[in-house]
């Protein structure tokens, strides 16, 4: 497994390098440069233009510029944004990356879980009414024009039913009276930390439950009760700290965007799981399990679904772009201050440094996601994990 992961990591670093180079190439081949904006300005004398060119390093040969660019990107020096003038690009991106990450990860986990469970069930009951109706719903959501879905969701849940706020990341009125030094980013960072601790504890519980001497019932108890305990403790801690309402405000604003984004992407996972399960069900070992007289639920979950999971995990990589595009639209429609919206705003305002920065980090983000999926795949697929032990 180590060799496989090393190879994949190297591969991904190569692609990252190519990706960053491509960004530079695109920037270079498109006509015009920074100074062209001032050409129509009569106050700009040739000396000033020459000075600006020298300042931006435009007089150097392309390879010097290219290496300078590479160095800057990999050291995080992305220049200064035009549209938010004195703010460095990195400072803008630093705040926004975690938000996109949370939106993306939570909606992806929800849609994957939902899609996989539903796909498993409808494949098992193929041809029934549940199968046909759920498949139809899945295809509808999957082929639906996403902005329309988001707008209708905002109207339905935000306006008509009034369950959730229409847009934004926080309620400004609440934060106006917040104590000194309490920023959205601080609370958000602590929330991410809480989530992280939760994940680690759950993984530890999972590892403990995997011990062979434990009985099936105890295993289940450990796996299901331990996260519940952690959640209760976390809620209590947040509640007593007095910052609970701020955290709740952020969560309250997060629900609708995450739900909407999960809605479009669960269909793809569900349909794929269904197709994959259909093929697995016809395998001989499933037949053997049936012949042994094992309960159908056990065959479905432990025999068929485990194998059917693999192609679905592979598709996570392919559907990444799809979900990311959805993320941009979600962020723009819900006024969610994330990476995608930053890129969009930068593009609309021709803020080239910010656009390059946001795009480069989108690429980094995608590649890290690819690596994570690869690791997941290696863990899940016994052919890879056993081969190298």
């Amino acid at each position: 497994m180590g060799a496989f992961l090393l190879k994949r990591t190297l591969h991904i670093f190569l692609i990252l390098f190519l990706f960053v180079s491509l960004t530079y190439l695109l920037f270079q081949v498109t006509p015009g440069s920074v100074v062209d904006k001032f050409l129509g300005n009569p106050k700009m004398t040739p000396e000033i233009i020459a000075k600006i060119r020298a300042q931006f390093g435009l007089d150097d040969p392309w390879y010097v510029q290219y290496f300078r660019y590479l160095k800057n990107v990999f050291t995080g020096q992305l220049g200064i944004s035009y549209s938010q003038y004195p703010t460095p690009v990195w400072d803008i991106l630093k705040d926004r990356i975690p938000r996109t990450l949370v939106l993306f990860l939570s909606s992806r986990v929800i849609s994957f879980y939902l899609g996989f469970i539903l796909g498993k069930i409808i494949a098992w009951k193929r041809g029934s009414l549940i199968d046909t109706s759920t498949t139809a719903v899945g295809i509808t959501f999957w082929t639906m024009y996403y902005p329309l879905l988001a707008i209708v969701n905002i109207w339905l849940f935000g306006f008509l039913l009034g369950w959730f706020p229409i847009n934004g990341f926080t309620n400004p009125l609440l934060w106006l009276n917040a104590p000194e030094g309490l920023t959205v980013n601080l609370i958000f960072a602590y929330m991410i930390l809480t989530g992280f601790i939760f994940l680690i504890l759950w993984m530890i519980a999972w590892l403990i439950a995997k011990k062979p001497e434990l009985s099936g019932k105890t295993k289940k108890r450990i796996i299901y009760i331990s996260p519940l305990m952690v959640v209760i403790i976390a809620v209590l801690v947040w509640g007593f700290s007095g910052y609970g309402k701020y955290a709740w405000d952020i969560i309250y604003h997060m629900i609708l965007p995450i739900f909407t984004l999960a809605l479009i992407s669960f269909g793809g996972t569900m349909l794929l799981t269904r197709d994959s399960m259909m093929e697995t069900i016809q395998e001989d070992y499933v037949m053997a399990a049936r012949a042994k007289g094992l309960p159908p639920k056990l065959i479905r979950d432990k025999y068929a679904a485990r194998t059917a999971l693999l192609p679905v995990v592979t598709s996570l990589t392919l559907s990444l772009g799809f979900v990311l595009s959805g993320g941009v639209i979600t962020e723009s429609l819900f006024s969610w201050p994330g990476l995608g919206r930053t890129l969009l705003d930068a593009a609309l305002m021709q803020d080239v440094p910010l656009a390059i920065g946001a795009f480069a980090f989108t690429g980094v983000f995608v590649l890290i996601a690819h690596l994570v999926v690869d690791i997941l795949y290696a863990v899940l697929d016994p052919r890879i994990s056993i081969e190298t032990i």
């Binding site: 591969h11 695109l26 306006f159 392919l318 990444l320 772009g321 593009a347 656009a355």
Partner: protein, 341 residues
């Protein structure tokens, strides 16, 4: 042992008198018939075809309607002196309805759906139905152009890299890996910050990206399975050149799969176009996404002007969905595993 005359006597061997092209035509006809039968077994593809047919009708009828409208002269007092004929009212880009509404008050725009404007009007007073019909033609041209370009490239590159293998293959596959990791929409947004995207440029970019992307990998693996067939060997022995084998033997055999990707290509191209124009990053006279974009940038919410969101949105969904459904119908043709027999 006596060896009898090994040449079969006249009754066994049939002299083929038909010309070659006629035989080929018959074979082609047979193949079409068979494929059509398999295609129609699943109703899903037929539904898609019906919807596409409806959109073709929509696209064709617009110029005819425009010609009819321009022949309908209007009395000057009815149109406040501005609109000379109905074409001025219903023009998808320059039109403006100045007609007084109820109580002789001027019709305020955007106006809700009515008999005069079945799909309502947009904030600039243009008829939405006319815009949707006009855009259908653009969308068809754009989608088919971009999908054709991408499938043409993907088929060619897939066949070539499967046939030659080696360095060419490695290069194109790494390129496909790179394109696959490229986040599509962020890439297009980034591109639009560097240059003004119009429909042609967007079609070109989408075609190129699709042509060197994931489709190439699938088409290549299909071509690889063709490459090892005995008839390719036979063609080589008979002295067929590389290009002859690629164009006459490999590509015709992966064409069904290419056709499948053509359908999916139209869906993804039109979806990308609609999303980009919805975000306001595309230079186009009018398109379905732009209708929604106008409504949004003029500040109308779904509650105030639902027809400006719902109608174009549903149109885009139906259009993309129809090509997707045809693609799914073709799935049975492409993937023999799914066939009943």
């Amino acid at each position: 042992m006596l060896v009898k005359n090994s040449i079969p006597s006249g009754s066994d061997a049939k002299i083929i008198s038909e010309s070659l092209w006629r035989i080929r035509l018959n074979l082609l006809q047979q193949a079409w018939k068979n494929n059509w039968q398999i295609f129609t077994e699943k109703k899903i593809g037929l539904v898609g075809l019906w919807i596409i047919g409806f959109f073709i009708l929509l696209a064709i009828s617009h110029p005819i309607l425009m010609a009819y409208w321009s022949s309908q002269e209007l009395p000057p007092e009815a149109m406040m002196g501005h609109n000379k004929s109905l074409a001025d009212v219903y023009d998808p880009i320059r039109g403006l309805d100045l007609r007084p509404g109820k109580d002789m008050m001027p019709l305020s725009h955007p106006a809700a759906p009515s008999w005069r404007h079945p799909f309502g009007t947009d904030p600039m007073g243009r008829d939405v139905l006319s815009q949707i019909m006009y855009s259908a033609r653009i969308e068809f041209l754009f989608g088919v152009f971009s999908a054709l370009l991408s499938v043409f490239l993907a088929t060619l590159v897939g066949a070539v890299s499967a046939y030659f293998g080696g360095k060419i293959d490695a290069f194109f596959m790494r390129l496909a890996d790179l394109v696959l990791t490229l986040p599509f929409l962020p890439f297009l947004i980034f591109l639009s910050s560097l240059l003004t995207l119009d429909l042609f440029k967007l079609g070109l970019v989408l075609g190129l990206l699709g042509g060197f992307g994931g489709r190439t990998i699938v088409l290549k693996s299909q071509a690889l399975s063709i490459k090892v067939r005995p008839y390719i060997e036979a063609a080589k022995i008979a002295g067929g050149s590389h290009w002859h084998i690629i164009f006459r033997h490999i590509i015709p055999n992966i064409l069904p799969l290419s056709f499948f990707y053509l359908m999916l290509g139209v869906t993804s191209a039109v979806m990308s176009e609609a999303t980009l124009s919805f975000l306001g990053l595309l230079q186009a006279p009018i398109s379905w996404g732009l209708i929604m974009n106008f409504a949004r940038s003029f500040g109308y919410s779904f509650y105030e002007a639902w027809w400006l969101y719902l109608i174009p949105g549903v149109t885009i969904t139906l259009f993309c969905g129809s090509f997707y459904l045809v693609g799914r119908g073709l799935d049975t043709l492409v993937n023999p595993k799914l066939r009943k027999r």
